[in-house]
């Protein structure tokens, strides 16, 4: 009985301490400046992120903390690609002041 419990304990510890590996497939986000609906998006550190932003008016889109910048225009969405290599919470923002999403990189 004690052996069984020990095995179970070892299994539980083993499961909970398994390190999170960064998935090979990227995080893909479709965002809109005209109808912003900001959400939190979980990203694993080291994962690729691909963001497409559409806007009817010309808008500058920026991901804080990763210094990627692109311009969206009517019919020509902005495409941002980068590797999330820092941990923290970062804002995807259309300037001047429209929050589009928050990336939570762990």
């Amino acid at each position: 009985m004690i052996r069984v419990l020990l095995v179970v304990l070892a299994l539980v510890v083993g499961c909970s301490s398994a390190p999170a590996e960064s998935p090979s497939e990227p995080v893909v986000l479709q965002l809109s400046v005209d109808e912003p609906s900001p959400q939190r998006v979980e990203v694993v550190k080291g994962q690729n992120v691909e963001i497409t932003v559409t806007s009817r008016a010309k808008a500058e889109v920026h991901v804080h903390g990763f210094d990627v910048l692109a311009v969206a225009e009517d019919g020509k969405p902005a495409a941002l690609k980068f590797v999330a290599d820092r941990t923290g919470t970062f804002e995807v923002e259309a300037h001047p002041d429209t929050l589009l999403a928050q990336l939570v990189v762990r």
Partner: protein, 420 residues
Amino acid sequence: MTVLAHGVGDRHDLPLPLDLVLQAAAVALLASFLGLGVLWTKPRFTPRADRAHQPDRAPQTVRAPQTVRAPWTVRAPWTVRAPWTVRAPWTVRAPWTVRAPWTDRTPRADRWWPLRVVVAVGLVFVPAVAWPHLVFVLGWVGVAVLSMALGPVWRVVNPLRLVLRVSRRRAYPAWLGYWPAAASLLAFTWVELVEPDALGWFLAAYALVGVIGGVLYGEAWFANADGFEVYSTLLGRLSPLWGNPFRALVATPVKPGLVALIAVCLGSTAFDSIGSMPSWARLGVVPDSVGLVGAVALVAAGYLVACRAFGAELAHSLIPIVAGYVVAHYYSLLVVEGQRAVALLVGVEGFTPSEALVAPAVVASVQIGAVLAGHLLAVVSAHDRSLALLPAQRHLTGQVPLLLLMVGYTAGGLALLFAG
């Protein structure tokens, strides 16, 4: 122009894990009510000046047997004079201070003027790009943390105090109390969180008001009405260098506006977390200015309802909660952007700060530790003061509303660290 939270910085902390938040809240709740049961039953932390007049020194108040201190409460090292608080050479006999630096009467506080001249001249040479970092990171957060460790730092370096040399020193109106300080801190946090571009205007107005007030009212103006100095002095009461911090806390002068002042400190930091939540942005309709004032009003209303029987007599016990939340909220900003601030001050742009000290586990530990430590200090401080204010038969029940309020503040702060 990029609009950033805090006016500086491009990253926020990770949300705290929910299980950690719930555990910390449970610890705060348990410790609070445990403290009610096991802490001492007679007030111990009286301001030094009042000790001679304590009624329990009179022979007729013999302790009833049930109030004799239980053995585990008597020797608590932070209650009675610890040797390092009394005998330490820098506390009592330091040649440059005669009294604890937050007392209003320091006739020779002016002796720091050469340092203030250096600060004032140094400010002239600060590069324009470094000002937001200097004010929002080193000034607002750095001075606050330094004050918790060392005492009222801003009082020593405040360059506006140079006008004391030409002051008229009229009597400061007592009814004004801390209200001007609360108003100026609210204005500053509005600039910080809502309109960072207005920083230049704010600083110009702050300096102008400070000079006029200092010329008219002298020393008392800076001790009561200068937001940064009052903030630094409040947090400086937690410094262990000047004797027992609990005694310094209870010696906080109760003046008009004290509750408002503390509500501004706590509410504005809380709103910083609320305002950076995606759900706040989705809400959209409420302007940030209203949110900021609302958060401050909520904190103040909580205190006024829970402590209506005491007035502002217990407000000082919230200072540790303010301090704990400031550390939790701004730790990573101070570590990361503090490095950038120094680089900008010496004229280096494009510097990449090291993030070694803001690994997720480190930040989470600092946040939980700071919030809990602040909460525990606040509970002990409030407990002791309540004993002195409440009649003996209400010693236990009378403390419950404030305890619940503190648990509410702490749980709210933890929830914001989880959600914001």
